[in-house]
């Protein structure tokens, strides 16, 4: 079962939270990685995955790895994890999973604008002063305040 899901860190789509299964580089690099927090069983999050390097969030710090190193880190994605929409990194697609208990008219409005379970959403940008945010869904752009977006939980 483990093997079916195991992939290398470089194959992980950005925004995914993963658990480290094993490190397969040579000993020196492995130790260095462990010191940085890439231990076996540690949970990390891949923030952006690009052509040549990958940004991960490890123990609340951001670390850049090049793909050669990332290739040798085997991970399994942590499935069905609900995260608040606001914690989604920019330009990361996720599916709406749940709307928290909020003011009914607000909830109805959010849903009528298309934020229903299973809808793919993605944060495009934050307003210059940090609030509101702009998201894309169903092929159009919507802006909401953070206080409203807080009610939206998504899964990757």
């Amino acid at each position: 079962m483990k093997d079916a899901q195991t992939l290398s860190l470089s194959q992980v789509p950005s925004g995914t939270r993963v658990r480290i299964e094993s490190l397969t580089s040579d000993q020196n690099i492995c130790n260095r990685l462990r010191e940085l927090g890439f231990c076996e069983e540690a949970e990390i999050r891949c923030l952006t995955s690009g052509e040549s390097n990958i940004v991960c969030e490890v123990c609340n710090t951001r670390i850049v790895l090049n793909t050669e190193v990332a290739d040798k880190i085997l991970v399994t994605p942590i499935k069905q994890e609900l995260i608040p929409l606001l914690e989604l990194p920019l330009f990361t697609k996720a599916k709406v999973n749940k709307l928290l208990k909020i003011d009914p008219s607000l909830k109805a409005r959010l849903m009528e604008m298309g934020i229903t379970k299973g809808t793919e959403v993605e944060i495009i940008r934050f307003a210059p002063l940090g609030d509101p945010i702009e998201i894309t869904l169903r092929g159009y752009r919507l802006s909401l305040r953070k206080s409203e977006a807080e009610a939206i939980l998504v899964s990757l």
């Binding site: 009914p104 909830k107 109805a108 009528e112 307003a127 210059p128 609030d131 169903r138 159009y140």
Partner: protein
């Protein structure tokens, strides 16, 4: 007689989401033959036009306000759904609905369509902006979509008149309107219970099953009781029982209907539309990268605003002068053609002077609405709200309140009219209430006269001139007062539920010139018609009080002093004494109740200067050297001059504004409240400023 003259279609409604190009389509269909009015009891605009089809068939076309849903969230949406249900007085229930859909945003737009289909109204689907969709590689299988929805579909590009003739033909073809059935379904349990409730509603309200079903869905999905007013207790208790039953089954009725609709929509889209959206940035994205950028966004925003205000001040000057000149010519003409006497005086000094002064604002209003139209139709307005929302939310307002407030630096009237873009009723009211605190251009003559007379040309730190600083302080005082009052109103009088800020950011597009001009012209017409009638009445009254009872007095200064207004000025002297004002200023306060700038001409009359031009040196000298008869002191000191200015910043002295507020809020309650609170505010702030000044040792 051809078949089409038998057509049963008399009234056609156009409905669609905001930003779907509905208004442009309406203009393309009706041309200039349209009427704008208000729906009874609300400030939602009712736009009706005439559509001419083959064989001289004439059809009434109603442009319904942009709506996302028929389960109303705003007054606009409420009107849309009421018109479709035939519940609005003087508006016939439409025989056919043109549902306009933005071809680039079909998924969300279909939500509204599904609600309209449910009402069993005959619908023609108008796929607008089909050119943009093609550009964006959205391939729509029109026949397939039409079959799935069971509706005729016409593709249009409204600003280029593409598809308009086809649409007209399609409307002509509909002889006996046919409707299509509801397409989406929920789970068996929910379906069964909803039908049960629908039958009950259908019987008790004596309406068709389909409309009853619409109400049943509304009743079952609402969790608060505010929407339940229209239903009898029996029905509500049945609905409550169903809700309870469903919650045992772990079914959330407040979301299942919306989800089921979207589920159906998704399947329709999957079968009929192919998106070739690559992850490349769209045109709008590229613009947004700059326009909502952390720094550039603000710089561009401020530049656009300053461009607008600059042009309102500079470009509008020429037409304003022309209108002013024409009014002068007209009044000289009247003066020479009507024998000297009271009638001549009434027409020249009362009617022409009063109404004329209002008419001169028309160019400013027209220009501002052209600019606001460009911002709105291009899609920039929602970006401006996006940028400014955080600041405005600090005082409890919506990002959209910012532009109307800034417009009010030019004139409060277009600013108040521009608040129509704010959907939330309470937010709109708060914005309207504080807008007149922003220093409008009518205050400039007052500031200029007093600053020139009393503030010495002195340079602070060698670069800032003192008169300039005083001028800026007056503007800032107005702005700060407006923000504070907005905060106060949101905290107390107009405390709303949690404010909802969910705003679509439509793709950028070029505004249609025709729509812009039509829109601005409608605004000007409204302004002239409604504000004009009230101004006319008040001008006459004010003229009467400023002239009588000593009509025959030749000396204008003495005539004013002994007129009703002059007497009133002396009467209120004890009241304004604490502010440092004497009766002469009192007369100025009363005459400028109608318009602030009248203060300058009143001072001119009182201080016996023939030409009450603000630049006139003699008026400044006279005011400066005037000695109060009773105390023997100077009646004006720099401190008093500043107090007068503060009073003018904060007081409501503009009947045109009050008239527009009354129009926009549909009652006298709010303008009267506004007048009272601003007068009290002005009085108390001036009082404290004066006392504080005396305390500091100024005299």
């Amino acid at each position: 007689m051809s078949l089409s003259t038998l057509s049963k279609i008399k009234t056609v409604a156009i409905i669609g989401n905001p930003n779907c190009g509905k208004s442009t389509l309406f203009n393309s269909l009706t041309g200039l033959k349209q009427k704008v009015a208000n729906y009874p009891g609300v400030t939602v605009e009712k736009k009706i036009g005439k559509l001419f089809l083959k064989d001289n068939i004439e059809i009434n076309l109603i442009d319904l306000p942009g709506s996302y849903s028929l389960f109303a969230n705003s007054p606009d949406e409420e009107i849309s759904s009421k018109v479709l249900l035939g519940l609005v007085d003087e508006t016939p229930k439409p025989d056919l609905v043109l549902c306009v859909i933005d071809a680039t945003n079909i998924e969300r737009n279909l939500y509204l369509l599904s609600q309209i289909i449910d009402l069993r109204l005959p619908v023609i689907l108008v796929l607008n902006m089909i050119d943009v969709a093609t550009q964006e590689n959205i391939k729509i299988n029109k026949n397939k979509l039409s079959a799935l929805l069971d509706l005729p579909i016409i593709e249009t590009v409204a600003p280029k008149y593409i598809g308009i003739e086809e649409l007209k033909n399609e409307i002509t073809k509909v002889i006996i309107p046919s409707t299509s059935l509801r397409k989406w379904y929920t789970s068996n349990e929910v379906e069964h219970n909803t039908q049960l409730l629908s039958k009950k509603i259908s019987i008790s309200k004596n309406i068709s099953f389909d409309i009853a079903h619409h109400y049943a869905v509304q009743l079952l999905s609402s969790t608060n009781s505010s929407t339940n007013g229209e239903f009898s207790k029996d029905l509500i208790s049945i609905a409550d029982k169903i809700k309870e039953k469903m919650s045992f089954l772990d079914i959330d009725l407040s979301s299942i209907f919306i989800e089921s609709r979207y589920h159906w929509i998704k399947s329709v889209c999957n079968e009929s539309i192919i998106f070739h959206r690559d992850d490349e940035l769209t045109f709008s994205d590229k613009i947004d990268k700059v326009l909502t950028h952390k720094y550039w966004g603000f710089i561009i925003f401020i530049s656009i605003l300053s461009l607008i205000f600059q042009s309102i001040f500079t470009w509008a000057v020429l037409p304003m002068n022309l209108i002013g000149g024409a009014i002068n010519l007209f009044s000289t003409f009247i003066e020479s053609s009507i024998p000297t006497g009271q009638l001549q005086q009434l027409i020249v000094n009362g009617i022409i002077a009063g109404v004329g002064a209002v008419v001169t604002f028309v160019p400013q209003i027209f220009l501002l609405f052209i600019f606001i139209g460009v911002l709105e139709d291009s899609g920039y307005m929602s970006r401006a709200a996006f940028i400014m929302d955080k600041l405005m939310s600090k005082v409890g307002l919506h990002g959209k309140s910012f532009i109307p407030m800034l417009s009010s630096f030019a004139c409060a009237i277009p600013g108040i009219m521009a608040t129509r873009t704010i959907e939330n009723k309470k937010d709109r009211l708060v914005t309207i209430l504080v807008i007149p605190l922003m220093s409008c251009s009518a205050r400039i003559p007052v500031y200029t006269l007093l600053i020139a007379a009393f503030i010495p040309q002195y340079f602070v730190f060698g670069i800032f001139s003192l008169p300039g600083l005083v001028m800026i302080s007056m503007y800032l005082l107005g702005l700060v007062a407006a923000l504070c009052m907005a905060w106060l109103f949101k905290k107390t009088l107009l405390r709303g539920n949690r404010q909802i800020f969910i705003m679509e950011l439509p793709p950028y597009k070029l505004p249609s010139v025709k729509t812009l001009f039509l829109h601005a012209w409608e605004r000007v017409k409204l302004f002239l018609k409604r504000a004009g009638t009230i101004i006319l009445g008040i001008s006459i009254v004010l003229w009467f009080f400023a002239t009588y009872p000593n009509v025959d007095e030749k000396d204008s200064s003495k005539r004013l002093k002994n007129s009703f207004i002059g007497q009133a000025g002396q009467l209120i002297e004890p009241l304004i004494k604490p502010l440092g004002f004497n009766w002469k200023i009192g007369v100025g306060l009363i005459t400028s109740l109608l318009q602030r700038e009248v203060f300058v001409s009143t001072m001119g009359v009182i201080y016996k200067v023939d030409d009450s031009d603000i630049s006139s040196q003699s008026l400044q000298e006279n005011i400066k050297n005037d000695i109060d008869e009773s105390s023997g002191n100077l009646s004006f000191t720099p401190l008093i001059a500043i107090c007068v200015m503060i009073y003018y910043v904060l007081a409501m002295q503009c009947f045109s504004t009050l008239a527009v507020v009354r129009r926009e809020t549909n009652s006298w309650k709010w303008p009267i409240f506004q007048f009272c609170y601003m007068t009290i505010l002005a009085y108390s702030v001036t009082f404290f400023a004066y006392r504080f000044g005396l305390f500091l040792g100024f005299t």
